[in-house]
Symmetry: C2
Subunit: 310 residues, 2 copies
Protein backbone atom coordinates (compact mmCIF):
# COMPACT_ATOMS: atom_id res chain seq x y z
CA UNK A 1 0.00 0.00 0.00
CA UNK A 2 0.89 3.68 -0.19
CA UNK A 3 1.10 5.43 3.16
CA UNK A 4 1.11 9.21 3.52
CA UNK A 5 2.37 10.84 6.73
CA UNK A 6 0.95 14.23 7.83
CA UNK A 7 2.36 15.24 11.18
CA UNK A 8 0.75 18.70 11.09
CA UNK A 9 -2.70 17.97 9.64
CA UNK A 10 -4.99 20.96 9.10
CA UNK A 11 -8.58 21.84 8.52
CA UNK A 12 -8.41 24.16 5.51
CA UNK A 13 -11.32 26.61 5.53
CA UNK A 14 -12.01 28.81 2.50
CA UNK A 15 -14.38 31.79 2.55
CA UNK A 16 -15.96 33.36 -0.48
CA UNK A 17 -16.49 37.08 0.22
CA UNK A 18 -17.45 40.13 -1.81
CA UNK A 19 -14.46 42.16 -0.69
CA UNK A 20 -11.90 42.29 2.08
CA UNK A 21 -11.93 45.10 4.61
CA UNK A 22 -10.58 45.97 8.04
CA UNK A 23 -12.30 47.16 11.20
CA UNK A 24 -15.77 46.04 10.12
CA UNK A 25 -17.31 42.58 9.89
CA UNK A 26 -17.00 40.87 6.50
CA UNK A 27 -19.98 38.71 5.65
CA UNK A 28 -18.94 35.29 4.36
CA UNK A 29 -21.09 34.07 1.46
CA UNK A 30 -20.00 30.45 1.31
CA UNK A 31 -17.75 28.26 3.43
CA UNK A 32 -15.68 25.30 2.29
CA UNK A 33 -13.85 23.15 4.83
CA UNK A 34 -11.59 20.28 3.84
CA UNK A 35 -8.96 18.03 5.36
CA UNK A 36 -5.49 19.35 4.57
CA UNK A 37 -1.81 19.32 5.21
CA UNK A 38 0.52 18.18 2.42
CA UNK A 39 0.41 14.44 3.12
CA UNK A 40 -3.37 14.47 3.36
CA UNK A 41 -3.63 16.48 0.14
CA UNK A 42 -1.52 13.83 -1.60
CA UNK A 43 -3.69 11.07 -0.13
CA UNK A 44 -6.92 12.74 -1.28
CA UNK A 45 -5.54 13.08 -4.81
CA UNK A 46 -4.36 9.47 -4.90
CA UNK A 47 -7.77 8.28 -3.71
CA UNK A 48 -9.50 10.38 -6.37
CA UNK A 49 -7.31 8.62 -8.98
CA UNK A 50 -8.33 5.21 -7.69
CA UNK A 51 -5.00 4.46 -6.00
CA UNK A 52 -5.60 2.82 -2.60
CA UNK A 53 -4.00 4.97 0.08
CA UNK A 54 -3.74 5.09 3.85
CA UNK A 55 -3.17 8.33 5.77
CA UNK A 56 -1.32 8.46 9.05
CA UNK A 57 0.15 11.29 11.08
CA UNK A 58 -1.23 13.25 14.02
CA UNK A 59 -4.56 14.97 14.59
CA UNK A 60 -6.69 16.02 17.53
CA UNK A 61 -9.74 17.81 18.81
CA UNK A 62 -12.84 18.86 16.94
CA UNK A 63 -10.87 19.85 13.87
CA UNK A 64 -9.16 16.46 14.03
CA UNK A 65 -12.59 14.83 13.87
CA UNK A 66 -13.53 17.03 10.91
CA UNK A 67 -10.27 15.99 9.20
CA UNK A 68 -11.08 12.31 9.79
CA UNK A 69 -14.57 12.78 8.38
CA UNK A 70 -13.06 14.39 5.28
CA UNK A 71 -10.70 11.46 4.77
CA UNK A 72 -13.53 8.97 5.11
CA UNK A 73 -15.64 10.86 2.59
CA UNK A 74 -12.69 10.76 0.17
CA UNK A 75 -12.17 6.99 0.62
CA UNK A 76 -8.78 7.45 2.27
CA UNK A 77 -8.07 4.89 5.00
CA UNK A 78 -7.63 6.92 8.22
CA UNK A 79 -5.04 5.70 10.70
CA UNK A 80 -4.10 9.14 12.02
CA UNK A 81 -2.77 8.93 15.56
CA UNK A 82 -4.86 10.89 18.10
CA UNK A 83 -3.36 13.77 20.07
CA UNK A 84 -4.97 15.81 22.83
CA UNK A 85 -4.46 19.27 21.34
CA UNK A 86 -6.67 20.79 18.67
CA UNK A 87 -5.34 20.44 15.10
CA UNK A 88 -4.63 23.71 13.34
CA UNK A 89 -6.97 25.50 10.98
CA UNK A 90 -6.06 27.63 7.99
CA UNK A 91 -8.52 30.32 6.92
CA UNK A 92 -8.39 31.81 3.42
CA UNK A 93 -10.86 34.55 2.44
CA UNK A 94 -11.07 35.04 -1.34
CA UNK A 95 -12.63 38.27 -2.59
CA UNK A 96 -14.29 38.90 -5.94
CA UNK A 97 -11.34 41.00 -7.11
CA UNK A 98 -8.95 38.07 -6.57
CA UNK A 99 -7.34 39.51 -3.43
CA UNK A 100 -7.10 37.08 -0.54
CA UNK A 101 -6.34 37.01 3.16
CA UNK A 102 -4.78 33.88 4.64
CA UNK A 103 -4.40 33.06 8.33
CA UNK A 104 -2.23 30.10 9.33
CA UNK A 105 -2.65 28.88 12.88
CA UNK A 106 0.31 27.37 14.72
CA UNK A 107 0.30 23.58 14.92
CA UNK A 108 -0.87 21.75 18.04
CA UNK A 109 1.57 20.92 20.84
CA UNK A 110 2.53 17.24 20.67
CA UNK A 111 3.73 15.46 23.82
CA UNK A 112 6.64 13.04 23.91
CA UNK A 113 4.24 10.22 24.78
CA UNK A 114 2.08 11.06 21.77
CA UNK A 115 5.07 11.15 19.46
CA UNK A 116 6.31 7.80 20.76
CA UNK A 117 2.83 6.32 20.42
CA UNK A 118 2.73 7.47 16.83
CA UNK A 119 6.15 5.97 16.09
CA UNK A 120 4.99 2.62 17.40
CA UNK A 121 1.82 2.68 15.29
CA UNK A 122 3.78 3.81 12.22
CA UNK A 123 6.23 0.94 12.64
CA UNK A 124 3.35 -1.53 12.67
CA UNK A 125 2.00 -0.11 9.39
CA UNK A 126 5.26 -0.50 7.48
CA UNK A 127 4.99 -4.27 7.11
CA UNK A 128 2.21 -3.81 4.54
CA UNK A 129 3.68 -0.73 2.97
CA UNK A 130 5.38 -0.20 -0.40
CA UNK A 131 5.75 3.58 -0.58
CA UNK A 132 5.73 6.21 2.18
CA UNK A 133 5.10 9.89 1.42
CA UNK A 134 6.36 12.14 4.24
CA UNK A 135 5.02 15.61 3.55
CA UNK A 136 4.55 18.95 5.25
CA UNK A 137 5.62 20.83 8.34
CA UNK A 138 6.24 19.57 11.86
CA UNK A 139 4.07 20.69 14.80
CA UNK A 140 5.59 21.89 18.08
CA UNK A 141 6.98 19.04 20.18
CA UNK A 142 7.95 16.85 17.23
CA UNK A 143 11.75 16.82 16.76
CA UNK A 144 13.38 18.23 13.62
CA UNK A 145 14.75 14.74 13.03
CA UNK A 146 11.21 13.29 12.78
CA UNK A 147 11.34 12.58 9.06
CA UNK A 148 14.85 11.15 9.32
CA UNK A 149 13.51 8.68 11.91
CA UNK A 150 10.51 7.78 9.76
CA UNK A 151 12.69 7.31 6.66
CA UNK A 152 15.11 5.02 8.48
CA UNK A 153 12.25 2.93 9.84
CA UNK A 154 10.69 2.70 6.36
CA UNK A 155 13.97 1.61 4.78
CA UNK A 156 14.30 -1.09 7.43
CA UNK A 157 11.04 -2.47 6.00
CA UNK A 158 12.17 -2.03 2.38
CA UNK A 159 9.70 0.78 1.76
CA UNK A 160 10.58 3.58 -0.61
CA UNK A 161 10.15 7.13 0.74
CA UNK A 162 9.28 10.44 -0.91
CA UNK A 163 10.07 13.46 1.29
CA UNK A 164 8.39 16.83 0.71
CA UNK A 165 9.08 19.33 3.45
CA UNK A 166 11.16 22.43 4.15
CA UNK A 167 13.53 24.12 6.56
CA UNK A 168 15.06 22.22 9.44
CA UNK A 169 12.81 19.19 8.83
CA UNK A 170 14.14 18.98 5.26
CA UNK A 171 17.76 19.46 6.24
CA UNK A 172 17.54 16.73 8.89
CA UNK A 173 15.39 14.49 6.71
CA UNK A 174 17.79 14.30 3.75
CA UNK A 175 20.45 12.88 6.08
CA UNK A 176 18.40 9.65 6.16
CA UNK A 177 18.59 9.39 2.35
CA UNK A 178 14.98 9.38 1.22
CA UNK A 179 14.45 7.74 -2.19
CA UNK A 180 13.16 10.99 -3.64
CA UNK A 181 13.24 14.50 -2.22
CA UNK A 182 10.60 16.79 -3.76
CA UNK A 183 10.79 20.46 -2.96
CA UNK A 184 9.29 23.62 -4.37
CA UNK A 185 11.46 26.46 -5.59
CA UNK A 186 10.71 28.44 -2.42
CA UNK A 187 11.55 25.50 -0.17
CA UNK A 188 14.77 24.87 -2.06
CA UNK A 189 15.85 28.48 -1.76
CA UNK A 190 15.00 28.57 1.94
CA UNK A 191 16.87 25.37 2.69
CA UNK A 192 19.81 26.02 0.40
CA UNK A 193 20.22 29.43 1.92
CA UNK A 194 21.05 27.74 5.19
CA UNK A 195 23.00 24.62 4.56
CA UNK A 196 23.54 23.24 1.13
CA UNK A 197 25.24 25.84 -1.05
CA UNK A 198 27.36 28.94 -1.12
CA UNK A 199 24.34 31.04 -2.04
CA UNK A 200 25.08 31.03 -5.75
CA UNK A 201 21.79 29.38 -6.66
CA UNK A 202 20.26 30.83 -9.84
CA UNK A 203 16.87 29.23 -10.36
CA UNK A 204 16.69 30.53 -13.92
CA UNK A 205 19.76 28.46 -14.74
CA UNK A 206 19.03 24.71 -14.94
CA UNK A 207 22.69 23.88 -14.33
CA UNK A 208 22.61 25.88 -11.12
CA UNK A 209 19.47 24.03 -10.02
CA UNK A 210 21.10 20.70 -10.83
CA UNK A 211 24.09 21.62 -8.69
CA UNK A 212 21.82 22.50 -5.80
CA UNK A 213 19.76 19.34 -6.08
CA UNK A 214 22.95 17.30 -6.29
CA UNK A 215 23.91 18.74 -2.91
CA UNK A 216 20.93 16.88 -1.43
CA UNK A 217 22.90 13.71 -2.08
CA UNK A 218 20.19 11.58 -3.69
CA UNK A 219 17.36 11.73 -6.23
CA UNK A 220 15.69 15.12 -5.93
CA UNK A 221 13.08 17.13 -7.77
CA UNK A 222 12.40 20.84 -7.60
CA UNK A 223 9.03 22.05 -8.85
CA UNK A 224 9.21 25.41 -10.60
CA UNK A 225 5.53 26.31 -10.81
CA UNK A 226 4.40 27.01 -14.36
CA UNK A 227 7.93 26.24 -15.57
CA UNK A 228 7.59 22.58 -14.62
CA UNK A 229 10.27 20.75 -12.69
CA UNK A 230 13.90 19.67 -12.71
CA UNK A 231 14.87 16.20 -11.50
CA UNK A 232 18.33 14.96 -10.65
CA UNK A 233 18.83 11.25 -9.97
CA UNK A 234 21.32 8.47 -10.35
CA UNK A 235 22.64 9.14 -13.82
CA UNK A 236 19.72 11.30 -14.99
CA UNK A 237 19.09 15.01 -15.18
CA UNK A 238 15.67 15.74 -16.58
CA UNK A 239 13.56 18.83 -17.10
CA UNK A 240 9.80 18.52 -17.62
CA UNK A 241 7.64 21.41 -18.83
CA UNK A 242 3.86 21.33 -18.85
CA UNK A 243 1.79 23.41 -21.29
CA UNK A 244 0.87 26.87 -19.96
CA UNK A 245 -2.07 26.96 -17.53
CA UNK A 246 -3.74 29.87 -15.83
CA UNK A 247 -5.25 29.97 -12.39
CA UNK A 248 -4.70 29.29 -8.71
CA UNK A 249 -1.63 27.04 -8.31
CA UNK A 250 -2.38 26.12 -4.66
CA UNK A 251 -1.98 22.38 -4.28
CA UNK A 252 -0.17 21.87 -7.59
CA UNK A 253 2.93 20.69 -5.72
CA UNK A 254 0.91 18.05 -3.87
CA UNK A 255 -0.61 16.93 -7.18
CA UNK A 256 2.93 16.57 -8.53
CA UNK A 257 3.89 14.33 -5.59
CA UNK A 258 0.74 12.25 -6.06
CA UNK A 259 1.64 11.85 -9.73
CA UNK A 260 5.06 10.50 -8.77
CA UNK A 261 3.65 7.64 -6.69
CA UNK A 262 0.21 6.79 -8.06
CA UNK A 263 -0.59 3.45 -9.67
CA UNK A 264 -2.09 5.07 -12.72
CA UNK A 265 0.97 5.67 -14.90
CA UNK A 266 1.75 4.06 -18.26
CA UNK A 267 5.37 3.06 -18.08
CA UNK A 268 7.51 3.25 -15.02
CA UNK A 269 10.62 5.03 -16.24
CA UNK A 270 11.63 8.20 -14.41
CA UNK A 271 10.79 10.12 -17.61
CA UNK A 272 7.22 8.83 -17.81
CA UNK A 273 6.69 9.29 -14.05
CA UNK A 274 7.89 12.87 -14.20
CA UNK A 275 5.84 13.66 -17.29
CA UNK A 276 2.70 12.27 -15.66
CA UNK A 277 3.40 14.17 -12.44
CA UNK A 278 3.80 17.40 -14.41
CA UNK A 279 0.57 16.79 -16.32
CA UNK A 280 -1.37 15.92 -13.17
CA UNK A 281 0.02 18.99 -11.42
CA UNK A 282 -0.93 21.20 -14.37
CA UNK A 283 -4.45 19.72 -14.35
CA UNK A 284 -4.90 20.98 -10.79
CA UNK A 285 -4.14 24.60 -11.67
CA UNK A 286 -7.26 26.69 -11.78
CA UNK A 287 -9.41 24.16 -9.94
CA UNK A 288 -10.83 25.81 -6.83
CA UNK A 289 -9.51 24.05 -3.74
CA UNK A 290 -6.16 22.49 -3.02
CA UNK A 291 -5.85 18.80 -3.63
CA UNK A 292 -8.14 18.51 -6.62
CA UNK A 293 -7.00 17.18 -9.99
CA UNK A 294 -8.69 16.44 -13.29
CA UNK A 295 -7.67 12.97 -14.50
CA UNK A 296 -9.13 13.44 -17.99
CA UNK A 297 -7.46 16.80 -18.45
CA UNK A 298 -4.19 15.35 -17.15
CA UNK A 299 -4.33 12.70 -19.90
CA UNK A 300 -4.74 15.44 -22.53
CA UNK A 301 -1.98 17.60 -21.04
CA UNK A 302 0.38 14.61 -20.88
CA UNK A 303 0.71 14.70 -24.69
CA UNK A 304 1.84 18.32 -24.43
CA UNK A 305 4.43 17.88 -21.66
CA UNK A 306 7.99 18.19 -22.93
CA UNK A 307 10.78 16.15 -21.36
CA UNK A 308 14.41 17.06 -22.01
CA UNK A 309 17.75 15.83 -20.70
CA UNK A 310 19.92 18.49 -19.13
Amino acid sequence: MILTVTLNAALDVTYDVERLSHDEPVRVRTVQARAGGKGINVAMILASLGTPVTATGLCGGHRGQAIRDGLRAAAVVDVLWPIAAESRQTVVAMADDGVFSEYDEPGPAVSTAEWEGFLSAYGALLAECRVVVCAGSLPPGVPDTAYATLITMAHDHNCRVVLDTSGAALRAGVEARPDVVKVSRAELMESMGHDFTDGSLDLTDPESVVRCLSAIGGPAIVTLGAEGAVAVGSGCRIRVRPPPRRGNPVGAGDAFTAGLVCDDVSGSSPRSRLAFAAALSASSVGIAGAGLVDRGLAAELLDLVTVEDL
Copy 2:
Protein backbone atom coordinates in the same frame (compact mmCIF):
# COMPACT_ATOMS: atom_id res chain seq x y z
CA MET B 1 -34.10 28.66 36.49
CA ILE B 2 -32.86 31.11 33.88
CA LEU B 3 -32.92 29.77 30.32
CA THR B 4 -31.04 31.42 27.47
CA VAL B 5 -31.98 30.69 23.86
CA THR B 6 -29.32 30.88 21.12
CA LEU B 7 -30.74 29.79 17.79
CA ASN B 8 -27.60 30.75 15.84
CA ALA B 9 -24.81 29.59 18.16
CA ALA B 10 -21.24 30.26 17.02
CA LEU B 11 -17.71 29.23 17.68
CA ASP B 12 -15.91 32.57 18.09
CA VAL B 13 -12.26 32.26 17.08
CA THR B 14 -9.82 35.09 17.81
CA TYR B 15 -6.34 35.30 16.29
CA ASP B 16 -3.49 37.36 17.65
CA VAL B 17 -1.28 38.46 14.73
CA GLU B 18 1.59 40.88 14.25
CA ARG B 19 -0.07 42.68 11.36
CA LEU B 20 -2.76 42.17 8.76
CA SER B 21 -1.89 41.82 5.11
CA HIS B 22 -3.36 40.61 1.86
CA ASP B 23 -2.09 38.12 -0.72
CA GLU B 24 0.41 36.49 1.61
CA PRO B 25 -0.07 34.11 4.53
CA VAL B 26 -0.39 35.75 7.95
CA ARG B 27 1.12 33.69 10.75
CA VAL B 28 -1.20 33.42 13.74
CA ARG B 29 0.62 33.68 17.07
CA THR B 30 -2.14 32.54 19.42
CA VAL B 31 -5.64 31.15 18.92
CA GLN B 32 -8.60 31.55 21.25
CA ALA B 33 -11.82 29.69 20.55
CA ARG B 34 -14.94 30.10 22.67
CA ALA B 35 -18.63 29.31 22.55
CA GLY B 36 -20.58 32.32 21.33
CA GLY B 37 -23.77 33.78 20.04
CA LYS B 38 -25.62 36.35 22.16
CA GLY B 39 -27.63 33.95 24.29
CA ILE B 40 -24.58 31.82 25.03
CA ASN B 41 -22.55 34.92 25.90
CA VAL B 42 -25.25 35.90 28.40
CA ALA B 43 -25.27 32.36 29.83
CA MET B 44 -21.48 32.31 30.24
CA ILE B 45 -21.58 35.65 32.08
CA LEU B 46 -24.41 34.51 34.35
CA ALA B 47 -22.52 31.31 35.19
CA SER B 48 -19.39 33.30 35.98
CA LEU B 49 -21.47 35.36 38.42
CA GLY B 50 -22.71 32.22 40.15
CA THR B 51 -26.24 32.41 38.73
CA PRO B 52 -27.42 28.92 37.68
CA VAL B 53 -28.25 28.99 33.97
CA THR B 54 -29.30 26.59 31.26
CA ALA B 55 -28.53 27.20 27.58
CA THR B 56 -30.75 25.96 24.80
CA GLY B 57 -30.96 26.75 21.11
CA LEU B 58 -29.52 24.97 18.08
CA CYS B 59 -26.04 23.70 17.30
CA GLY B 60 -24.45 21.09 15.08
CA GLY B 61 -21.33 19.50 13.70
CA HIS B 62 -17.79 19.71 15.00
CA ARG B 63 -18.15 23.34 15.95
CA GLY B 64 -21.36 22.44 17.76
CA GLN B 65 -19.37 19.94 19.83
CA ALA B 66 -16.74 22.60 20.55
CA ILE B 67 -19.53 24.96 21.66
CA ARG B 68 -20.94 22.28 23.99
CA ASP B 69 -17.49 21.67 25.47
CA GLY B 70 -17.15 25.40 26.10
CA LEU B 71 -20.48 25.52 27.92
CA ARG B 72 -19.56 22.54 30.08
CA ALA B 73 -16.24 24.14 31.00
CA ALA B 74 -18.13 27.29 32.02
CA ALA B 75 -20.63 25.37 34.18
CA VAL B 76 -23.57 26.24 31.92
CA VAL B 77 -26.13 23.43 31.65
CA ASP B 78 -26.19 22.46 27.95
CA VAL B 79 -29.55 21.49 26.48
CA LEU B 80 -28.84 22.79 22.97
CA TRP B 81 -30.88 20.93 20.39
CA PRO B 82 -28.77 19.08 17.80
CA ILE B 83 -28.96 19.95 14.11
CA ALA B 84 -27.24 18.21 11.19
CA ALA B 85 -25.48 21.26 9.70
CA GLU B 86 -22.24 22.70 11.02
CA SER B 87 -22.67 25.67 13.36
CA ARG B 88 -21.12 28.91 12.17
CA GLN B 89 -17.70 30.21 13.09
CA THR B 90 -16.62 33.82 13.43
CA VAL B 91 -12.94 34.62 12.90
CA VAL B 92 -11.43 37.85 14.23
CA ALA B 93 -7.74 38.60 13.61
CA MET B 94 -6.40 41.35 15.91
CA ALA B 95 -3.14 43.01 14.91
CA ASP B 96 -0.65 44.75 17.16
CA ASP B 97 -1.69 48.17 15.80
CA GLY B 98 -5.31 47.58 16.87
CA VAL B 99 -6.61 46.98 13.35
CA PHE B 100 -8.78 43.90 13.01
CA SER B 101 -10.33 41.70 10.35
CA GLU B 102 -13.59 39.93 11.11
CA TYR B 103 -15.21 37.17 9.07
CA ASP B 104 -18.77 36.14 9.90
CA GLU B 105 -19.91 32.84 8.43
CA PRO B 106 -23.56 32.37 7.49
CA GLY B 107 -25.60 30.33 9.96
CA PRO B 108 -26.34 26.64 9.38
CA ALA B 109 -29.44 25.56 7.45
CA VAL B 110 -32.11 24.35 9.88
CA SER B 111 -34.77 21.91 8.66
CA THR B 112 -38.43 22.15 9.57
CA ALA B 113 -38.16 18.88 11.51
CA GLU B 114 -35.23 20.24 13.49
CA TRP B 115 -37.08 23.46 14.31
CA GLU B 116 -40.15 21.51 15.42
CA GLY B 117 -37.99 19.19 17.50
CA PHE B 118 -36.45 22.20 19.21
CA LEU B 119 -39.87 23.75 19.92
CA SER B 120 -40.97 20.55 21.60
CA ALA B 121 -37.84 20.38 23.76
CA TYR B 122 -38.13 24.10 24.61
CA GLY B 123 -41.72 23.65 25.72
CA ALA B 124 -40.67 20.90 28.10
CA LEU B 125 -38.04 23.16 29.68
CA LEU B 126 -40.46 25.98 30.47
CA ALA B 127 -42.12 24.20 33.40
CA GLU B 128 -38.98 24.77 35.49
CA CYS B 129 -38.21 28.17 34.10
CA ARG B 130 -38.52 31.64 35.61
CA VAL B 131 -36.81 33.86 33.04
CA VAL B 132 -36.07 33.25 29.35
CA VAL B 133 -33.45 35.30 27.48
CA CYS B 134 -33.98 35.12 23.70
CA ALA B 135 -30.91 36.64 22.10
CA GLY B 136 -29.18 36.89 18.75
CA SER B 137 -29.82 36.26 15.07
CA LEU B 138 -31.82 33.52 13.38
CA PRO B 139 -30.17 30.92 11.14
CA PRO B 140 -31.57 30.05 7.70
CA GLY B 141 -34.69 27.90 7.91
CA VAL B 142 -35.92 29.35 11.20
CA PRO B 143 -38.95 31.63 10.62
CA ASP B 144 -38.81 35.36 11.39
CA THR B 145 -41.61 34.72 13.88
CA ALA B 146 -39.39 32.34 15.89
CA TYR B 147 -38.99 34.61 18.91
CA ALA B 148 -42.68 35.54 18.86
CA THR B 149 -43.48 31.83 19.11
CA LEU B 150 -40.99 31.30 21.94
CA ILE B 151 -42.26 34.33 23.86
CA THR B 152 -45.89 33.20 23.61
CA MET B 153 -44.96 29.71 24.82
CA ALA B 154 -42.97 31.20 27.71
CA HIS B 155 -45.84 33.44 28.76
CA ASP B 156 -48.17 30.43 28.73
CA HIS B 157 -45.86 29.03 31.44
CA ASN B 158 -45.70 32.34 33.35
CA CYS B 159 -42.06 32.90 32.43
CA ARG B 160 -40.77 36.42 31.89
CA VAL B 161 -38.87 37.02 28.63
CA VAL B 162 -36.03 39.35 27.68
CA LEU B 163 -35.63 39.77 23.91
CA ASP B 164 -32.35 40.97 22.38
CA THR B 165 -32.26 40.70 18.61
CA SER B 166 -32.53 42.85 15.50
CA GLY B 167 -34.17 43.28 12.12
CA ALA B 168 -37.09 41.12 11.10
CA ALA B 169 -36.69 38.85 14.14
CA LEU B 170 -37.05 41.90 16.42
CA ARG B 171 -40.00 43.35 14.55
CA ALA B 172 -41.87 40.03 14.65
CA GLY B 173 -40.75 39.32 18.23
CA VAL B 174 -42.12 42.50 19.79
CA GLU B 175 -45.58 41.55 18.55
CA ALA B 176 -45.62 38.83 21.22
CA ARG B 177 -45.00 41.44 23.95
CA PRO B 178 -41.77 40.32 25.61
CA ASP B 179 -41.38 41.59 29.18
CA VAL B 180 -38.27 43.54 28.24
CA VAL B 181 -36.84 44.36 24.82
CA LYS B 182 -33.13 45.18 24.94
CA VAL B 183 -31.56 46.56 21.79
CA SER B 184 -28.36 48.33 20.93
CA ARG B 185 -28.34 51.72 19.28
CA ALA B 186 -27.46 50.13 15.93
CA GLU B 187 -30.23 47.55 16.22
CA LEU B 188 -32.74 50.22 17.18
CA MET B 189 -31.81 52.39 14.22
CA GLU B 190 -31.97 49.45 11.83
CA SER B 191 -35.33 48.29 13.09
CA MET B 192 -36.87 51.73 13.52
CA GLY B 193 -35.81 52.59 10.02
CA HIS B 194 -38.15 49.91 8.77
CA ASP B 195 -41.22 49.79 10.91
CA PHE B 196 -41.53 51.69 14.11
CA THR B 197 -41.10 55.39 13.39
CA ASP B 198 -41.25 58.09 10.81
CA GLY B 199 -37.46 58.21 10.69
CA SER B 200 -37.19 61.15 13.06
CA LEU B 201 -35.07 59.25 15.58
CA ASP B 202 -32.32 61.39 17.07
CA LEU B 203 -30.22 59.21 19.33
CA THR B 204 -28.53 62.24 20.87
CA ASP B 205 -31.94 63.36 22.14
CA PRO B 206 -33.24 61.23 25.05
CA GLU B 207 -36.80 62.29 24.33
CA SER B 208 -36.47 61.02 20.78
CA VAL B 209 -35.13 57.72 22.07
CA VAL B 210 -38.00 57.47 24.52
CA ARG B 211 -40.48 58.02 21.71
CA CYS B 212 -38.84 55.27 19.69
CA LEU B 213 -38.74 52.82 22.55
CA SER B 214 -42.36 53.60 23.35
CA ALA B 215 -43.21 52.50 19.83
CA ILE B 216 -42.09 49.00 20.80
CA GLY B 217 -45.20 48.88 22.95
CA GLY B 218 -43.71 47.54 26.17
CA PRO B 219 -40.73 47.88 28.48
CA ALA B 220 -37.66 48.50 26.35
CA ILE B 221 -34.02 49.41 26.83
CA VAL B 222 -31.59 50.80 24.31
CA THR B 223 -27.88 50.51 25.13
CA LEU B 224 -25.85 53.49 23.96
CA GLY B 225 -22.31 52.18 24.36
CA ALA B 226 -20.18 54.40 26.57
CA GLU B 227 -23.18 56.68 27.07
CA GLY B 228 -25.04 54.03 29.03
CA ALA B 229 -28.65 53.17 28.35
CA VAL B 230 -32.18 54.53 28.23
CA ALA B 231 -35.07 52.46 29.57
CA VAL B 232 -38.76 53.06 29.03
CA GLY B 233 -41.27 50.99 30.99
CA SER B 234 -44.67 51.17 32.58
CA GLY B 235 -44.57 54.57 34.19
CA CYS B 236 -40.79 54.97 34.21
CA ARG B 237 -38.27 56.62 31.90
CA ILE B 238 -34.76 56.17 33.16
CA ARG B 239 -31.28 56.98 31.90
CA VAL B 240 -28.25 55.22 33.37
CA ARG B 241 -24.67 56.38 32.72
CA PRO B 242 -21.62 54.38 33.70
CA PRO B 243 -18.25 56.02 34.41
CA PRO B 244 -16.01 56.36 31.33
CA ARG B 245 -14.15 53.18 30.32
CA ARG B 246 -11.65 52.58 27.56
CA GLY B 247 -11.19 49.46 25.50
CA ASN B 248 -12.88 46.88 23.32
CA PRO B 249 -16.66 47.06 23.87
CA VAL B 250 -17.40 43.69 22.20
CA GLY B 251 -19.78 41.78 24.42
CA ALA B 252 -20.71 44.76 26.60
CA GLY B 253 -24.32 44.49 25.40
CA ASP B 254 -24.49 40.85 26.45
CA ALA B 255 -23.05 41.76 29.84
CA PHE B 256 -25.82 44.36 30.16
CA THR B 257 -28.46 41.73 29.48
CA ALA B 258 -26.85 39.36 31.99
CA GLY B 259 -26.93 42.16 34.56
CA LEU B 260 -30.66 42.60 34.01
CA VAL B 261 -31.49 39.01 34.90
CA CYS B 262 -28.80 37.75 37.26
CA ASP B 263 -29.53 36.77 40.85
CA ASP B 264 -26.72 38.90 42.17
CA VAL B 265 -28.39 42.30 42.51
CA SER B 266 -29.04 44.21 45.71
CA GLY B 267 -32.58 45.46 45.42
CA SER B 268 -35.00 44.55 42.68
CA SER B 269 -36.30 47.93 41.55
CA PRO B 270 -35.91 48.79 37.86
CA ARG B 271 -33.45 51.51 38.91
CA SER B 272 -31.15 49.14 40.80
CA ARG B 273 -31.39 46.50 38.06
CA LEU B 274 -30.45 49.02 35.40
CA ALA B 275 -27.61 50.48 37.44
CA PHE B 276 -26.17 47.03 38.05
CA ALA B 277 -26.52 46.10 34.36
CA ALA B 278 -24.69 49.31 33.37
CA ALA B 279 -21.90 48.64 35.89
CA LEU B 280 -21.52 45.01 34.80
CA SER B 281 -21.47 46.06 31.16
CA ALA B 282 -18.83 48.71 31.87
CA SER B 283 -16.74 46.13 33.73
CA SER B 284 -16.55 44.04 30.54
CA VAL B 285 -15.09 46.88 28.46
CA GLY B 286 -11.41 46.35 27.82
CA ILE B 287 -11.42 42.70 28.85
CA ALA B 288 -10.15 40.65 25.91
CA GLY B 289 -12.86 38.30 24.71
CA ALA B 290 -16.60 38.76 24.50
CA GLY B 291 -18.63 37.51 27.39
CA LEU B 292 -16.19 38.24 30.18
CA VAL B 293 -17.01 40.49 33.12
CA ASP B 294 -15.22 41.53 36.29
CA ARG B 295 -17.58 41.17 39.26
CA GLY B 296 -15.30 43.05 41.66
CA LEU B 297 -14.81 45.91 39.23
CA ALA B 298 -18.56 46.01 38.59
CA ALA B 299 -19.16 46.50 42.32
CA GLU B 300 -16.77 49.47 42.32
CA LEU B 301 -18.27 50.96 39.15
CA LEU B 302 -21.80 50.59 40.54
CA ASP B 303 -21.12 53.45 42.98
CA LEU B 304 -20.20 55.66 40.03
CA VAL B 305 -23.22 54.87 37.85
CA THR B 306 -25.67 57.75 37.63
CA VAL B 307 -29.40 57.12 37.30
CA GLU B 308 -31.75 59.91 36.26
CA ASP B 309 -35.43 60.10 35.41
CA LEU B 310 -36.23 61.49 31.99
